[in-house]
Structure formats: structure tokens, C-alpha cells
Amino acid sequence: MGVAYVSPWKVPAGQNVQQNIEELHNSIEQLGAIKTGLFTVECESYHAVNVANSKTLHLIHSTEYPASRFACFEDGPSIVSDVMLPSFLSKLRSVWQPRKGGRIESKGHRYELGDFVLKTGIISMGPSTKGISLEVEYTPCVYPCDCWGIITELLKGFVGENMATNMPTLILEKSKEIYTPDITMQQYVELFSNMRKSNYTPIVCVK
């Protein structure tokens, strides 16, 4: 497990998501990356019953960690548990209930380039497509502050020189600590939350 950066990919006006993701795949393959399979990140949101202004609990399942489930509170702590967590939550139906329309997922292809793992997914909520997600993971390094330069240099290879190079707040807070997979899941939670908002502008811009 290395350091991962998750970002939305802006779909230009006049193009649909499918066309745009194919262009993105071409750009990644031109760098020399090899397609190594598929991936899915699913997020199910729960809210506390009978508690005013309660924080939303997001339950995440990623195919990269098939034996784990990540439970993240919005802007709060997160825990990593085993696959029994959803059944446990269903037993607590009187306290935690699934939110209506709270299921969102990102599904797509997984690429490998040297020690990099690149994941491009189409974010969809029910039947509607929300956008494109891009995850760049650099596997040999475990400290985000050390390999941020490497990650941004790779991104500039297919995003363009005008890409924002600031470290996201979620990574910045723990940039000098050992990176853990739950930070990636928190980035997905943030991305999914932003995607739900209609007037959201992605960080990564296309050339």
C-alpha cells in the first residue's frame, strides 16, 4: 500500500462521460501503462435515527481490499473492519438506517505503470452518471510528503502543466505520517459528497 491521490476528472462541454473516459484511457496507455483489471469502490451512506444534526456514516467497500470494510464519518474519524460490518449495521436498524439515494459507486479500469497504480472510474448514483474519478497510487512510498512531487509529475504527463499541484487537505493533515488505506477511502467519500452537489468544479482540469 502506497500513497494514493483521488481526484475528479472534468468532462468538457459537448462531450459525454463515455467519450471522455476513453480519451483518458488513451492518454494513460500512451504513457506506457498496462491494463490490469477492473475495480469498484462502493459507498453506502447511513444516518442516525432520532438524532438531530447527526453526522453521516459512509460504509465503503473497495475491490482492492476485498476482506475489509471502511466506515468513515463525514469530516470525522474512520475505522477499518471486516466484511461483517454491513450485517452488523443491519442489526442496528433502530439506530442507523440507510439514507435514501445514499448509494454511490465508482467503477472502471485499473492500470499499472512501473510502481504506479492508476484507476479510472465512472461515478454513478443509481441509474444516473455523475462524472469520472481518477486515482493515482504510488506503491513503494508510504509518506505522502515524500512522493507528492512524483505523483504530480506523473499527473502532469497526461493532465497538462496547468494542473493544480497543491496537496489536498486530507493528505496534507497526515503528510508526515505513514499513509493508510482509510485516507484513500476518505478521499472517495469527499469526492462522492462533492459529486452529489450539482455546482461542483473538479480539481483536475483536462488539457
Binding site: 510502481d115 513503494p140 508510504v142 512531487g149 504527463g157
Partner: protein
Amino acid sequence: MADTINQAKLTISCIAQAITSTQQLRSTVTNVFNLLCEGVKPDEDHDGRGRDRKKFLQKFQEHLQAVNKDYNEVEKYCNSMIPTPELQVLGPLSHLSLDSNTDKKNTFRDAVQTYEWNQRMHEYAQIASSILLSHQLKRSQSSGGAILAKRRRALPPKFQNMSSQHVENTLQLLARQPADLTFKLIKTLGDTRILQVTVGRVFTVILMLRNLLMEKVLVKGLDEELYYENGTIDLFSESQFECMRRITDHAMTAVLQYSTTHATQPEIPLKYFLLWLQSYKNLFIDPCSICGKHLDGGLPPVWRDFRNPVACHDTCRP
């Protein structure tokens, strides 16, 4: 055999030159006969017969001199040719050269070329063997014949007879010196020690030492497993990361380099190697000193020179 082939090549060139000079001789002899056939021609400008005869004789003399010169040339080439015993030396293979189908099939030519390559390989092997034998440090325990075995018994490898206390003290001293390196002695099996060296926040190195002689290096990522499930150390599985596998290769080269060039004192190669490892502390931070970029084919600058260890891509090496 190689000499025979070279001699044959020389003879062939001699034959070619002899043929040319024979043709030349034939042409000059023809000139002589033509002159004799034509006989004495009356001079158009001068009527004196004595003068014509003189001129004819002078011409005849010139032609004969040319014949003599060409004949000497042919004789010289014939004398320089030595009968070559190549066919006998090549043995049954030489009969291939007599085959009328040789021009169609290149078997004989290929066989001769193969022989030449084989000969060259023998020469290189002899040179390499003499270089290896002249070297003081013996890294290999493989038997190299009775003479080598005898020599090994007479001259035991260096740094073998060290007290355990001396090795321990030296390791403790070395562990204090380089910053950014964390040492951990994992196991001691007689003279063999397994050290775990962590380089900054970059990677972990498993170093196998026999007394102070480095025998194996394995570079692994910080989050990779170093032990088997039963708790024993894994000395053979390569790293799952490509950049760590490259660094392992470079580290083995560095071990050989420092062990052979700085073999005057037992601790010097190890000290130099640790200083070289220290140069990897900013592996993911420093860009390549040549091209100024972080990545080359998805890999960071993994190469470090043995004298001046600065960050450099494999492909950007000066």
C-alpha cells in the same frame, strides 16, 4: 588451427597475385612474338636499313626485359607460397571443402567461422582466468581444480579469522556513524550475521554478513513483509516493487565494487557501502541530477554512482 587458417588466407592472396602476374607475363610474351612476326619494318622517314635494324633490336630488347621482369615476379610469388596442411588439420571436416555443392551450402564456411569464435572464446576465458587468479579476494567457494584448491588451503580468504567481539565492536561503531540509517541485528549464526538496515523513510535493506564480508543484499519497501509466517527471516523473496528490485541489483553491484576496490581493511567496504546506501534517503524527493525530472518510465532516479552518489536515472547515467 587459427594459424593454419590465417596462413591459408595469405596463400590465397598470393595465388591471386601470382595469377595476375602470370597474365601479365603472357601478355608481354605475346608482345615479343608479335614483334618477331612483324619483322623489321622500313622507317618511313629514314631509308637507312642499319638504322631500322638497330631500332628493331632495341624494341626487341625492351620487350625481352619486360618478359624477364614479369617472369621474376611470377617466380617470386611462387616461392613465397608454402604448401598448407589445413585439410589434414581440419580432419574429416576438411572433406566438406572438396564437396562440389560447397558453393550452394555454407556448411564448411560456417564450421570454420564457428571454430574461429570458439578459439576467440578460449582466448578471452584464458585472459579472464588470469585476471581472476591474480586477484587477492576470493568470493567464490567453487572448486577450480586441484591447483586452486591447494592454493586456497595455503592462502585462506581474508577476514576469516576475526574474533566475534571484534566484529561486534566494529558493527556498533559503524552503526553510530551514518545518520538516517537504523540498524537492527536480526540473527547471528556463528560467523554469519543478518542485519536489517532502514534507510530514512525509504526502504529496508537485509544485509547478510560473514564476519564483516558482505554476502547478500536485499532491498524491500517499508511496508513489505520481511519474515515468513513462522517468524524466520525471508532472505530470498524479491521486492514486489520494481524500483526496489532495481536498487537491489545496484546494491549487489556496489557490494562487489567496494569489496574489490577497498579490500585493504575488513570494515572499509562495509563502511563505504553504508555511506552509499545513505544516499538513497531522498529517493522519492530528489529529481534526477541529469534530466531534472522525477520519473523515467514510471521509476524514480534509482541509480547512484559509487564515487559520487547523486540521484540519477538508469538511462541518464553519465
